[in-house]
Amino acid sequence: MTKLANLARLIRSKNAGPFVLTFDVMFEDEARYQRVKNSGALTREVVADRYGLPAKDVLFFYCDHARAVKASIPRPYFQGDVRDSDGHGGQQYVPLMDIEIP
């Protein structure tokens, strides 16, 4: 077992417009990408759980050409809302970092 952050070359979050937050988990090589993709440990349901959402609210993709896993969720607060704490959405990926990958 190892943590997702030890396998990915980049885990990031970003606005996808003012209303959606998107996560990219990117891998340097095919072996690490396939290991994560086939592990069953990084799924729509796992992402939903990490962000306290029902699975139906999470868009989830395997992007083979990019060797990346991608997920998108509705923003907890819209960008620029008085309660929003991260205008660019750039520091919201941390709950994905310690997902355990077999």
Partner: protein
């Protein structure tokens, strides 16, 4: 015409690029120069206030090099989403920069100015007709929102650019535009496959972002052909790989395979990426599925109120271990004091006090998985939002005083709880804005929302309107 060559000097006009990269790109004989100058990413304040996110001098530097290059090669220059948000004020700001440069560099050209700001009466009419529809997730959008909105823009597709070029424009300065449409317009106009035109546009709109080893904002070049397109960054140190190009479609998109434009959906499901030279990638197989109904995305911002903030830190572990309780008690005290001071003139729903606790959950708020803070100090940012700056500032004064001296059971006697680094302790932030629409509008015609002016700019910068083309 068997190929369209295009250079995108930078991913954001005003963020810069290497002059040497643009010179290399110009030596590859592009048919046009395109540049995206806007985004919602900097936030609603730019749309609301009319200000650009990049400094005027930085934008002018970039536009000067692009404009001189375009006029030297006698090729069109297309800039969309003027001055970040693409409203009329933003558009006028960028047009004034272009005119200044033309005078300074003694350049003459025909310039199309395309507006994207939407009138309130037009929006209300389309709303009543049921032709404004929500995306997901969307805030409530009604006539009250339209009335309150400081600025609402439509995001134009490729058609207004094509219209401008067909009318003889040599420079096109447009309000809010689909980033991709700026680049797709020319190949679409010449009948190249839309899947390739839009996909190439999607990569180009971010300049050199799709390289493996991004150093800074820089140029990207594309050759768009009948059955594929090729990407290569002019800077010899930058390399595109199949992975770097494929990865780019992830950036700032909710869905990496299906990208929705006004006139249809770019579908990358079957795209194929090949390394054809050391630094160049060939892309094929991208498809474009025409929409049944043409739609234009709306963006709007409205003033929420005025804000004042107090920054203060806490070092005492007795406070830190009960910070949630302490801040709750602080809010109760502040509201009571506001009531005492203002009476009925300031109701609880008229103002908002928000406390951010850095060192605990300031960055992630309710999404923060770490529930127990281990920090030895905390930073509090306390924000007051109220109908006027004077009221926000006054209530911040109340919060400061209540916060300084709010006791805890561990100590008896008058304490001072917050360490305030600034004097005065509160900072007035001025008006603040929020995005108020995530909807699409169904126009009768792709040009209906985007009226164009055609002007002749001559060396003396005495530009005059030659004709006004009604939408």
């Amino acid at each position: 015409m068997d190929e369209i060559r295009v250079v995108a000097p930078t991913g954001a006009c005003g963020s810069g690029f290497l002059e040497s990269s643009l010179e290399t790109a110009l030596s590859w004989s592009p048919h046009f120069i395109g540049c995206d100058a806007g985004s919602t990413d900097p936030g609603p304040a730019y749309l609301g206030t009319g200000k650009p996110a990049f400094p005027r001098e930085a934008v002018k530097r970039d536009v000067r090099l692009m404009l001189k290059g375009a006029r030297r090669l006698k090729i069109p220059l297309l800039i969309g989403s003027a001055n970040t948000a693409g409203g009329d004020v933003h558009l006028a700001g960028l047009v004034s920069i272009v005119r200044e440069i033309a005078a300074e560099e003694k350049l003459s050209f025909r310039m199309a100015i395309i507006h994207a700001e939407q009138g309130k009466d037009y929006l209300k009419k389309r709303l009543r007709e049921g032709r404004i529809k929500p995306l997901h997730p969307a805030p409530e959008f009604n006539e009250g929102v339209i009335e309150r909105s400081a600025c609402t823009v439509g995001m134009m597709g490729a058609e207004p650019f094509i219209n401008a070029l067909q009318a003889g424009a040599e420079v096109v300065i447009a309000g809010r535009s689909s980033d991709t449409a700026i680049f797709a317009s020319v190949p679409v106009m010449h009948g190249f496959p839309e899947g390739l035109a839009w996909h190439a546009g999607k990569v180009l709109e971010c300049g050199a972002a799709a390289v493996v080893n991004r150093k800074t904002g820089d140029c990207m070049f594309a050759w768009i052909r009948k059955d594929h397109f090729v990407l290569e960054a002019p800077d010899p140190e930058l390399q595109c790989t199949p992975q770097s190009v494929a990865s780019h479609s992830l950036y700032e998109n909710a869905d990496p395979f299906k990208l929705i434009e006004c006139s249809g959906t770019l579908d990358l499901t079957n795209s194929v990426y090949e390394q054809i030279r050391e630094r160049a990638v060939k892309v094929s197989g991208s498809e474009f599925i025409p929409a049944e109904r043409y739609t234009v995305k709306l963006e709007g911002a409205e003033k929420v109120g005025y804000q004042s903030i107090i920054i203060g830190s806490i070092r005492d572990p007795f406070f830190i271990r009960q910070i949630d309780d302490w801040t709750e008690r602080l809010l109760v005290r502040c509201h009571a004091r506001v009531k005492q001071v203002y009476g009925d003139r300031m109701k609880p729903e008229d103002y908002f006090i928000n406390i951010r606790i850095y060192g605990k959950n300031g960055t992630m708020g309710p999404l923060e998985p770490v529930k127990e803070s281990l920090a030895h100090e905390l930073c509090l940012i306390i924000e007051v939002t109220a109908p006027s700056q004077d009221e926000a500032s006054s209530i911040a004064g109340i919060v400061r005083h209540q916060g300084l001296h709010l006791p805890i059971p561990e100590w008896s006697g008058l304490i001072t709880a917050l360490a305030c680094p600034y004097n005065p302790a509160h900072l007035d932030r001025g008006p603040i804005y929020r995005f108020n629409v995530n909807h699409v509008l169904e126009p009768d015609d792709p040009l209906e929302m985007f009226p164009m002016e055609m002007v002749t700019v001559d060396e003396s910068s005495q530009s005059k309107a030659t004709d006004k083309v009604p939408a």
